[in-house]
Symmetry: C2
Subunit: 135 residues, 2 copies
Amino acid sequence: MPTQTAQQRRLEAKVAYDAYLATCPSRQLLATLSDKWVVLVLSALHDRPARYSDLRRRIAGVSQKMLTQTLRGLERDGLVRRTVVATVPVTVTYEITFLGLSLHKVVAQLKSWAESNMQSVTIARHAYDAPEGVD
Amino acid sequence: MPTQTAQQRRLEAKVAYDAYLATCPSRQLLATLSDKWVVLVLSALHDRPARYSDLRRRIAGVSQKMLTQTLRGLERDGLVRRTVVATVPVTVTYEITFLGLSLHKVVAQLKSWAESNMQSVTIARHAYDAPEGVD
DNA sequence: CTGTATCCGGGCCGATACTG
DNA sequence: CAGTATCGGCCCGGATACAG
């Protein structure tokens, strides 16, 4: 069994590494933020609570499915609180938690960087894409 | 043409919104960071340059395809500089740019938040997932 | 050593229909 | 109003093979 072992080792290393990443706090956070709608929902709620239909209107691009899924995830993570009032028809409001608010502040840093520097990125992009031989 | 118009309007609104998002600096940045390997490559390079094969080893989980693709993207965005030395066989080194370094610092803020708060998230998760009726 | 080209399976996500 | 259920297309990304 000599020939397979190198590949075996690589596979094991990969599995171990994946497991490591799965428990890494930074990676988990990044995975959360990677969800397209998470940041938008957080922003929509950061200064005031809103009802489900409010959010749908204010975020405009979301499908029902994605909004619900995102809100469930945020609720599960303790970033958003869901409150049901048994009126007819039922009323549901969402509000950001203290933890969620603290995350929103960090995300605001990203926003700040983006607003200062994304133009540089755009310029770099165009330079990269431009026909190089021109002079 | 009365019946279709409502849906039409919604579609137009969505398209406009998507276009808006596409040009939003924050969203673009988020899209960049969402790439699984971007942050890892940035981290791997933040304190010293490295060659392609170094990166493959140090990041362990990446496939060749993804590493190349990520590096190309970072180079295009002006976050990483690629240098080819025409030895035989060819030598390629990657180093982070000033812009890339400034982004890495912002990402470090995320890391810091994650290390302080992801445990709270995990706890919230377990509470949410736990069988609620138990007491 | 540093890639490029291709195939292909899985999962994300939107659209649609239905429910309490 | 606030969801759940299901289907289907698309793209991400890994594996593999090949190349300068």
